[in-house]
Symmetry: C2
């Protein structure tokens, strides 16, 4: 997905929020904002929004000398999700369609996104989960199930820390031997890295790889050759989050299921879906 003119004021707002999150130094805050302005003035609108997120957060890490400003917040939301794990697993077990509820919860976990807002509270995350438990997923789950059954190699692209614990609930409902889980190669915002996958206990269930890149999405040409090979060899991609959607929505891959929450008006308009809705969106069904 390309960037729209409406993304630009939002990049600036996100940059300022992120700068304030990462540093209390007003000079650093101003520097990063001015750099994002200069970068955006020349940016190619054919680039996807996560390309700008990548630039913002690389510079923030350089300026602050902090390689992982969101480390604490990642741990906090991993821990929050872990306290909910056992209870939700029980609910999934008892549900009339366990996979359907696990899908819903995995998509809901996508609310834990500090790229969209640096002010998310644990209480808000809990409320989102409660809401999800009441609302069925309006999507073609049969197609998803068939694809899982027919595929030999499934690549699961994680998105955020915290959220990755909810991914575990879904992965537990899937044939784990077929699955490789991919995380970011380096810290960016609160996106999940290998440490978060381990905290979620996913290393005991599935193969885990890093994608070799630090974009808050999957810019395939920037990822490692190993990741690219996994991506192209997979019969099915399960892609979590809006950042992975924005970077992979135009991919040539024939079978990507995008699981995400619609978090901004631009994406809502792009896919003609309500803001805030939960999506199980197949790439070739809409192309």
């Amino acid at each position: 997905m390309k960037s729209y003119l409406d993304c630009i004021p939002c990049f600036l707002r996100q940059a300022l929020e992120a700068a304030r999150f990462a540093t209390s130094n007003p000079t650093d805050q101003e520097t990063i904002l001015r750099e994002v302005l200069a970068f955006s003035a020349k940016m190619n609108l054919n680039d996807s929004p996560p390309r700008v997120g990548q630039m913002i957060h690389r510079r923030l890490r350089e300026l602050t000398g902090n390689e992982d400003p969101y480390l604490q917040v990642k741990q906090k939301f991993n821990n929050l999700a872990l306290t909910m794990l056992e209870d939700l697993r029980g609910k999934i077990k008892k549900a009339p369609d366990s996979l359907e509820l696990a899908l819903r919860l995995a998509i809901t976990g996508n609310v834990i996104d500090f790229g969209i807002s640096a002010n998310l509270t644990e209480e808000q995350a809990r409320q989102e989960v409660e809401k999800t438990l009441q609302t069925p997923l309006n999507a073609n789950i049969k197609q998803f199930k068939q694809s899982v059954n027919h595929s030999k190699k499934i690549l699961y692209l994680a998105d955020n820390a915290g959220e990755i614990v909810f991914d575990r609930l879904l992965i537990e409902q899937l044939p784990t031997k077929k699955i490789t889980l991919a995380v970011r190669g380096n810290p960016v915002i609160n996106d999940a890295t290998i440490a978060d996958a381990q905290t979620a206990g996913l290393d005991l269930l599935v193969e885990i790889i890093e994608n070799g890149n630090d974009a808050p999405g999957t810019i395939i040409e920037d990822c490692s050759p190993q990741f690219q090979q996994k991506f192209h060899q997979a019969d099915m991609i399960i892609s979590k989050g809006q950042g992975n959607f924005e970077t992979l929505s135009d991919s040539d891959h024939q079978n990507i299921f995008f699981l995400f929450k619609v978090k901004c008006p631009v994406v809502a308009r792009h896919i003609n879906a309500p803001l805030g809705s939960l999506q199980l969106y197949h790439n070739k069904e809409h192309s």
Copy 2:
């Protein structure tokens, strides 16, 4: 008032809204947005926000070849306000404190501001007036009355079209012989020019001058020598609107009453007042 980092995402949002208001050509919309980005990357934060507004709207007029993109909207809101004039004049006459109600209505008229949002409807403007009729002004009106009585020369700085009809209601309560009304020297957004003052019938009541500039505020050093002289010779300035406040809040003039609605969180924080509140704010009381 200087610009804050929080103003910058807002400048971009305003530029995009204004571009969409002024032209349906996406290339022009993109051009103006990129220019505002480049300008903002280098801007001096000691400049007041209307300096950026001035730049945005100058370039929009150049790009579109339209010298007054807001002409129709100015006429529409002048007409709306004129239809309300007789009724409101009656209410002011019957009010226990006529000047107090006239002040309130003049400040409320400040809601008619296409710089803040290009989507204001007539219905919203009507609702604001209705709300104001119910809410007393929490301000030192005695000081204002005394200043009017003691001053020999009062300079009244108008802000927007539509709003200027509400200014007439206030001016009718003041000693008109002492008053000079100043309007913008050139069209910018929906700010009032000489034509709007005439539409409001103010040329029959008071002397009217142009300020010789096209900023959506009063950048005193850019105004005509005639205007500057009037400004410095006046014993009292009545300054309407947030743009005039942002450009004159640090003025050396000893006696400025700022009448405006607090329309953004940055100004609210700057003066420590609630967003949306009506202000009758004396410069030297707060300095």
